[in-house]
């Protein structure tokens, strides 16, 4: 994650600046002219830090683009899909997910594929599964990473070419920089 690295570098840079000024001047000039310079440097570094951090999440537009790429111009309807995830996830790197799609799973009417999206992860696509009438149930479970508190979307493509979706808000307690 590029922005993460920038953040780490800026923090290091800030520390260097602070240490450098502390090392040289602390013993001689605790309250004098250097102290204010030190403050100024700190403020400058903090400002630089703020400027450098860009939002790392995919934007809602990006999610819309991804949906359009995947499902074309098909209308996305609400319903038929049930997305089960914990509302509050202790650890964002292992969040259980179960998607069930209401379908008879007959050769005439079945779930073709299920797609999971996390709009505020670095990459909005999480996983896709392909199913067919031989599955008997339009259900699967897995474990996924959720970078921060955000809505997770599950979208099912049916054999009659209709698209159904459901979303759940997942609150993440410990989010990770690694996604």
């Amino acid at each position: 994650m590029r922005e993460c690295r920038e953040y780490v570098n800026v923090v290091r840079y800030m520390k260097l600046l602070v240490f450098a000024t502390d090392d040289i001047h602390d013993s001689h000039d605790r309250h004098g002219i250097f102290a204010s310079r030190r403050r100024a440097l700190r403020a400058l570094a903090a400002g630089a830090c703020l400027l450098t951090i860009k939002p790392v999440m995919a934007t809602p537009d990006e999610l819309a683009d991804t949906l359009r790429q995947t499902f074309g111009d098909r209308a996305i309807n609400r319903g038929k899909v049930k997305l089960e995830m914990p509302r509050l996830a202790e650890n964002g790197s292992v969040v259980p997910i179960t998607v069930s799609v209401d379908s008879a799973m007959t050769p005439q009417d079945y779930v073709k594929s299920i797609h999971v999206f996390a709009s505020e992860n670095h990459l909005p696509r999480v996983l896709e599964v392909q199913l067919g009438p031989h599955n008997g149930k339009g259900v699967f479970s897995s474990r996924v990473r959720v970078a921060r508190s955000q809505p997770i979307t599950a979208v099912a493509l049916m054999s009659d070419d209709t698209v159904w979706a459901a979303a759940v808000n997942v609150e993440v307690v410990t989010s990770e920089c690694g996604l």
């Binding site: 993460c4 690295r5 790197s93 996390a118 996983l127 392909q130 599955n135 008997g136 897995s142 690694g178």
Partner: protein, 109 residues
């Protein structure tokens, strides 16, 4: 073709014809997202399982495409209709040529 970690499959040994049974699978894999940094600030290269396929007597019945947001040691549960006795095979492939496989026999009565 390099080897991947242990693959585990849990499913019944036998089922009634037409019964829908559950299959649980897991493979050991770091699923390194490619967005993380090591403690020197260097990017850790991406290393993820890209696909998981289950075939029933040679016919593909479940396929998953994985992205970096799937957790370490990818785990899947899904369902299958018991049609005839035979073999189910499971294949995981990662983006560095690693492959893991597993097979299970199923008796349908």
């Amino acid at each position: 073709m390099s080897r991947m970690g242990t693959a585990r499959v849990r499913m019944p040994e036998s089922a009634k014809r037409g019964e829908v049974f559950e299959i649980r699978t897991m493979v050991q894999h770091p699923m390194e997202s490619g967005f993380r940094l090591d403690n020197r600030g260097k990017e850790i290269p991406r290393h993820i399982v890209e696909s998981f396929v289950c075939s029933y007597n040679g016919k593909e019945i479940f396929r998953a495409t994985l992205h970096p947001a799937v957790s370490t040691n990818p785990f899947f549960t899904f369902y299958v209709v018991a049609a005839e006795s035979g073999e189910l095979s499971f294949t995981w492939q990662d983006d560095q040529g690693g492959v893991a496989t597993a097979t299970q026999r199923l008796t349908v009565n």
